[in-house]
């Protein structure tokens, strides 16, 4: 009895399968990426929905977790003053904890479930690299990725992806150019994170100083906090200038370790990634005197420069819309990204589509707090191409010297002579 019943189930299942396979089919999606404004995902008459993935928790959250609240605060400021062509910006922030597995799920959630108009300022090279193919297939604008990798500048392969900050090779070239001019003949060494950050930085440095221009090269990994062997190697090699591609925690650790070894006081030139004075002094505590004389490049105004109109604008927005959070370069970063996004959205026009936004960004010519030019064009998706050196004197970090620009190829490092832009009177970009 039971055997007949079992066979019956199998037969019924097969019949059902055959019937169902003919019944199940897919219709064309009701809206595609380039439909009318009414059917563009993430855009309604009153709202634009943007999404991002950021490490809000986890070991990598230090510093970076403050970027998205700052961007959100700037969007709130714009929304309170009329929005973009009458639409308010809604910013969905997802926490991926710097784990690429989470990023995969969260970006798909943002695109497929929350139906965002664009992904903005996704943070992290390993995390964001994994979602490039998905965003390309879905034709979602992937704006202003928060990482200095060169992977975001591939217009043929990933036409919707754009970088934002100067990539690590550009920065390496600019630093090396400064070191060549300011410390001629001294022994130069390089400390790099053992991934594309360190590698690209070293490539840029060696392009300017020559393959034998760097005497000692050392690497570190974030999972190993004992870098005494590396610093001791620098000391033994007699390094006088150390260029470092380090995150803030490891810049501080390098300075502290060098002090411990006694008698080792090279000129440190860290990457802009790990050179913010406020962050570093917080890390070093009583040891912040070690920061005296630190030289580093930057692409945004220094957050402690109260005379800069952009700093004044951002501090006002920070006080009113960001709960008066401690003001450092992460807030500068977040709000500049917000400002640039509003500029791009305004340029894309009232009839907002995904293609329109891509064309608006590619048209380039944006001017805001960034000290250097934005290199956006149809063939260049890289981002800011210029930086200015800054020095810590008497506990104050201040910019000095000219703004210089270069590309991530073999181009020379040249001065950028255009005057810095100032914000509009109400701090919201003009149409």
């Amino acid at each position: 009895m039971l055997r007949i019943a079992r066979r019956g189930i199998v037969v019924a299942a097969c019949l059902a399968l055959v019937a169902a396979s003919s019944a199940c089919s897919d219709e064309a999606p009701s809206s595609s990426g380039g439909g009318t404004a009414a059917s563009v995902p993430g855009v309604t008459d009153t709202e634009i929905v943007l999404g991002t993935h950021m490490p809000l928790t986890g070991p990598a959250a230090a510093g970076y977790s403050k970027i998205s609240p700052a961007t959100k605060a700037y969007f709130e400021y714009v929304n309170a003053n009329g929005g973009v062509h009458g639409r308010k910006i809604k910013y969905l922030v997802e926490d991926d904890g710097y784990n690429p597995a989470n990023t995969q799920t969260l970006v798909r959630k943002l695109v497929l479930e929350d139906k965002v108009f664009a992904i903005l300022n996704g943070l992290g090279t390993p995390t964001h690299t994994g979602v490039l193919d998905f965003l390309k297939t879905q034709e979602v604008p992937d704006l202003f990725v928060a990482s200095g990798s060169r992977s975001w500048n591939q217009p043929e392969k990933y036409p919707t992806t754009f970088g934002f900050q100067p990539d690590y090779t550009v920065e390496g070239k600019i630093i090396a150019d400064f070191v060549k001019k300011t410390y001629p003949g001294q022994v130069v060494c390089h400390m790099g994170q053992d991934d594309d950050f360190g590698r690209d930085s070293l490539a840029g440095v060696e392009q300017v100083l020559g393959a034998d221009g760097v005497k000692e090269k050392q690497k570190y990994v974030t999972s190993n906090t004992n870098i005494t062997p590396q610093i001791q190697a620098f000391k033994a090699a007699g390094c006088q200038v150390v260029i470092s591609a380090t995150i803030p925690a490891f810049t501080a650790l390098s300075l502290g370790t060098a002090a411990k070894l006694g008698g080792f006081k090279p000129q440190w030139v860290p990457s802009s990634v790990g050179a913010d004075y406020t962050t570093l002094s917080g890390l070093l505590g009583e040891g912040k005197v070690l920061l005296e004389g630190l030289v580093a490049p930057g692409y945004l105004p220094v957050s402690t420069d109260a005379s800069n109109p952009w700093v004044q604008l951002y501090q006002k927005v920070n006080k009113e819309y960001n709960g008066d959070a401690p003001f450092d370069n992460n807030i500068m970063f977040g709000m500049t990204v917000g400002y640039l996004t509003v500029q791009a959205l305004l340029k894309a026009g009232k009839d907002l589509t995904r293609e329109g936004l891509i064309s608006a960004v590619e048209s380039g010519g944006f001017k805001n707090a960034a000290v250097g030019p934005y290199r956006y064009s149809a063939s260049d998706h890289s981002g800011i191409g210029g930086m200015q050196m800054g020095r810590v004197t008497g506990g104050v970090q201040a910019a000095f010297g000219p703004v210089v620009q270069t590309d991530d190829g073999a181009g020379p490092v040249q001065e950028y002579t255009e005057a810095p832009a100032t914000p509009t009177s109400n701090g919201i970009p003009a149409v």
Binding site: K219, V221, N224, T225, A236, L253, G285
Partner: protein
Amino acid sequence: MERFVFLTFDGLSRGAVYAAFALALVLIWRAARVVNFAQGAMAVVTAYAAYMVSDAVGSYLVGFVVALVGGLLLGALVERGLMRFVGHANPLNDVIVALGLVLLLTAVVGIIFGGEFRAANQPFDTRAIEVGGVPLMSRYDLFIWGTVATIVVLLALLFTRTAVGLRMRAAAFAPEVSRLLGVNVGRMLTLGWALAAVVGAVAGVLILPTELGLHPHAMDIVFASSFAAAIVGGLDSPVGAVVGGIIVGLILSYVSGYLGAALTPVAVLAVLLAVLLLRPGGIFSGVRARTV
């Protein structure tokens, strides 16, 4: 040669802290037969308390005392309030509860203090004393060694010379018989957890100045290295924990110095395999029962 000497002393400095943390793990294993995966998170909580108080009052010693007291309270609380109620039908349940506790404690610390790195300043000079031009240990390293040695001696005295220590050992080794003989096994268990938490808290306070700073995930990697150290030495042996810590510290230093920082996990795995293939219970494991 100079580099070798330097790396040796560097490894010994790190090894001292791994030894202290491994000691905490061994204590809980001996008392409760469970590996405390939450040891790192508990040490972070007490470290935050210690440094907040120390910064507010301006005295490192006060912070240190806060760490001791905090460790006692936290260990007792975790055992009495949580671990006691975990069913022992399955030994993995303790592990899962500990992992849940890690997430909870890390998140709570992150909510209260934020995820930023905070400076953890050393009380002593951290400049290395140079002998013949080679930097050896700094005064702070000597302080770490002194503290770890004191802890080991105190614990040894406690377990072998005091009545409480005897009761704790009895409660861990044969709970039923001890109960019959009048030992309050539950209280001994709580005491074991509290002691282990104190040792872990002290280890945390000691190591944080040499790490990146105070933040919710500061002890994650230290826990992994200390766990390896405890395994190498044998989970049942406090001496093994110290020896294991030294070995792990030295290996990490040599590999970082000669082969590159990225390869240190491979070195740890190699050491573990080498030791455990010869002695499956760790270096200082006792004589195993005869097998057929």
